[in-house]
């Protein structure tokens, strides 16, 4: 009798507590996107409120108000996790899409910009990494209003969109306050990025971790795209910062990707001070064994580059082995005392990959025509301004040319740029976005004007 009552209560309590039937899309996410070519398939992972329940769903990709239905290829239910395999439509243009799942009741479950359709990664790639973002949000009574760092972040996003890297990596400390409003604003800013975003948390995300997990997803992850793999490690917790289970996971995952080009990011640097303390030698050995070209981090709010022996290299950016790179803060307080850069400023790192080899990854801060030993690219020195009537002014204070920039010029109708090469047009609401390929020489001012197409 007692047992029966206990079992019945257990079932009743569970049903009541877990009702109504619902699910949460755990992957892909904004910070852990699915990267694939149109026509390829990807997996979506659903976390179900009731084990064994298999919701019937319609799925689609959505971008700029245009929908593309997804074909369900396979599904696999494991207790309360449902893995769905979807094929993307061949006709969908390249770019970032929202994944939209519609359940029986017609409720939409949307994961913004979580699927990125793009061709397989090329031999030569451009990546941007940033860390330690400005403190945005916090305005208004509830904190969800405009905060001190919002404008700053918007400008950075615009600069990155002009650089138009193949991937953007964010290496932690995205939230210094840790409130839900902060993650809400972060999400809002990152949606404006045109490149796929891969994000990992830092130590500050442990203030309000629930907000980060809800907005950006899992604390550690791997994003694969063709022959490229991005490893994001969680070093944000405590001072040991790389637990035994995470190290095992890293070792096994690298072993499974021996033919891949691997890029690693973690918030804490591996060397010197305020670094990862435990299993450093093992990690260095592991990265060397797998010929990882670059390990990216933030945390110091300063630039620095180390070689595999932990020596800070001030003699130049080119040396053998894995480069352990620490990038300055994108918006948080600077610490010039730990920087080896020519100058301390807010910025981000632009780096190139040529096959599995690291190309240029430092900025020419001293304007001597050669990249510095450790400097990252300065933020806010590439001023971008919309001009009335369909135009854009770019004023560069960089010491080096920005080749192959993609300027987005807005207009209310289809026009052509007076300079540069029109890559494509996209419609967003009532606006038509013209994406223009153009070079921005060092210290120059470039004005792009949209004009009527000559007949």
């Amino acid at each position: 009798m007692t047992r029966a009552i206990a079992i019945l209560t257990a079932i009743a309590a569970f049903l009541w507590a877990a009702l109504p039937l619902r699910f949460d899309v755990r992957g892909p996410r904004l910070g852990i996107p699915a990267l694939l070519a149109p026509g390829e398939s990807f997996n979506a992972e659903l976390f179900l409120s009731h084990p064994g329940w298999r919701p019937s769903l319609e799925a689609r990709l959505e971008r700029d108000g245009v929908s593309y239905p997804l074909e369900l290829l396979d599904d696999e239910l494991s207790w309360n996790r449902l893995e769905l395999e979807f094929r993307t439509p061949n006709e969908a243009p390249h770019g970032g899409y929202d994944l939209v799942l519609v359940d029986d009741a017609g409720t939409e479950h949307r994961r913004d910009r979580s699927v990125f359709l793009s061709p397989p990664p090329a031999h030569d790639l451009r990546l941007v990494q940033l860390a330690d973002l400005p403190t945005f949000g916090g305005g208004g009574a509830d904190g969800f209003g405009e905060g001190p760092g919002d404008a700053e972040m918007r400008r950075i996003v615009r600069e990155i969109n002009l650089i138009r890297p193949d991937y953007v990596l964010i290496s932690g400390d995205v939230a210094y306050v840790g409130g839900w409003f902060h993650y809400y604003k972060l999400h809002e800013h990152l949606l404006d990025l045109e490149s796929p975003l891969i994000c990992v948390l830092g130590n500050h995300e442990y203030k309000g971790l629930a907000g980060y997990l809800e907005t950006m997803g899992a604390p550690r992850h791997i994003v694969d795209h063709g022959d490229l793999s991005f490893f994001s490690l969680n070093t944000g917790h405590g001072r040991d910062q790389l637990t035994a289970s995470q190290f095992d996971w890293l070792e096994t995952s690298l072993e499974l990707r021996t033919d891949q080009r691997c890029v690693v990011q973690m918030h804490h640097p591996l060397f010197w001070k305020r670094n990862v303390f435990v299993r450093v030698d093992e990690m260095v050995e592991l990265f060397a064994e797998h010929e990882v070209p670059i390990v990216l981090s933030g945390h110091w709010h300063a630039d620095n580059v180390f070689d595999e022996t932990g020596v800070s290299r001030t003699d130049g950016p080119d040396f053998a082995g894995t480069k352990y790179v620490t990038t300055t803060a994108a918006g948080a307080t600077l610490h010039p005392e730990v920087s080896t850069a020519f100058e301390s400023y807010h910025g981000y790192r632009v780096f190139e990959l040529h096959g599995g080899e690291l190309g240029r990854y430092t900025y020419d801060g001293d304007a001597d025509g050669h990249p510095d030993a450790s400097s990252s690219h300065p933020a806010h020195r590439m001023l971008i301004e919309d001009l009335p009537g369909g135009g854009l002014r770019i004023k560069s204070s960089w010491n080096e040319d920005l080749r192959g920039a993609t300027a987005t010029v807005r207009a209310d109708r289809e026009l052509v740029p007076d300079k540069g090469k029109l890559l494509r047009r996209r419609t967003r609401g009532s606006e038509i976005l013209h994406e223009v390929l153009i070079d921005v020489p060092a210290g120059s001012e470039v004005v792009i004007q949209l004009v009527e197409e000559a007949l």
Partner: protein, 341 residues
């Protein structure tokens, strides 16, 4: 067994869940939720002391049954918004819900302890079965991280439906080791070790597997101790083993076998408390075991998070003190033969 389950769920299910949540996700003490979490242990401790002093009235069925039924309903109500959700350190409502579940847990534990006394005192076999049941409840955390809290609801309902078994037979006469200070210290060391994999997995709910396996081990340990009570050799040997495994900083710490071994050690160490005849007028008590167990779990998290500091790593060698002191004191007294006549 239900009485034992009610009694043991507080130290071995609710309190570890509270500590795991706070350790992994943290608490913001400048936020009202953080202040609720600060008050929670104090509120629960005061309630426990009050119940021990004046709570004997809860042994009455007409009082215990409605309390347990209301408690079960309150737990289900409090848990509902937590289902599928992360532990949100900045949610005051969540903190209040966790506190409410804690109050129910303390009340149920006290009722369970009184019933265990009515039944003639803790019995090893029943305690072992209770640990195995608690292991199953803890394993539910693999599905939904906070689900073990909800499993307290059916447990309380089962307690409401059951009647304590009256002591109608004499306890078998068997040697029971006295639970001394060093035993308690050893329990704390087991707890320190026990929390290492819980910290390691962080937001990955696989920590629940190790938690469940540890409790399963505790059940095995209690059964084992019936045949081979803790000896003067065993405790120092255990201490040396703990010190050794603590000092090792390699990936094998995550192996499930270790959780079972540590759980077995915990069950073995606690055996004297879990197989003791009833004492006149006293509910079954885990004595200082519960605070030291909880302190051990907390210390384990602190040490895990700060293992980078050499000084803190040295603390993990503290278990070596046990054999040393035990030898100096002329071995552990295990002559306490008692009968329940």
């Amino acid at each position: 067994m239900i009485s034992h389950l009610l009694w043991l769920q507080l130290p071995f299910l609710y309190l570890p869940m509270l500590i795991i949540g706070l350790a992994i996700y943290g608490a913001d003490f400048e936020h009202p939720s953080g202040r609720v979490y600060l008050w929670t242990p104090l509120v629960l401790a005061v309630l426990h002391v009050v119940l021990r002093a004046w709570g004997r009235v809860l042994a009455r069925r007409e009082l215990a049954t409605p309390i347990l039924i209301v408690g079960a309903a309150l737990i289900a109500f409090a848990y509902r918004p937590l289902h599928m959700h992360w532990w949100d350190e900045r949610s005051t409502m969540q903190a209040l819900r966790i506190l409410a579940i804690g109050v129910c847990s303390v009340l149920a534990s006290h009722i369970g302890a009184l019933r265990v006394q009515v039944e003639g005192g803790p019995r090893a076999a029943r305690a072992a079965c209770a640990f195995i049941a608690l292991a199953l409840l803890a394993l539910s955390g693999m599905l939904y991280p906070l689900l073990p809290l909800l499993t307290l609801a059916p447990l309380l309902a089962a307690g409401a439906a059951s009647t304590p078994v009256t002591c109608d037979e004499q306890r078998s006469f068997r040697p029971v080791a006295r639970f001394g200070g060093w035993h308690r210290f050893a329990v704390m060391l087991v707890a320190i070790e026990f929390s290492l994999p819980l910290w390691d997995f962080q937001t990955d709910p696989r920590w629940a597997l190790f938690f469940g396996l540890g409790l399963l081990g505790a059940g095995i340990g209690v059964f084992w101790a019936r045949r081979a009570p803790l000896s003067a050799v065993a405790l120092p040997a255990l201490a040396i083993c703990f010190a050794f495994v603590s000092a090792l900083d390699s990936s094998w710490v995550v192996y499930p076998g270790r959780a079972v071994i540590l759980g077995t050690a915990a069950g073995w160490l606690c055996f004297p408390l879990l197989d003791a005849p009833a004492q006149e007028g006293h509910p079954a008590r885990l004595s200082w075991c519960t605070p030291l167990w909880v302190l051990g779990l907390l210390l384990g998290f602190v040490l895990s998070a700060n293992r980078a500091f050499l000084g803190l790593r040295l603390i993990l060698w503290l278990p070596l003190l046990i054999p040393l002191v035990a030898l100096l004191r002329g071995s552990i007294d295990h002559s306490g033969r008692r009968s329940a006549a």
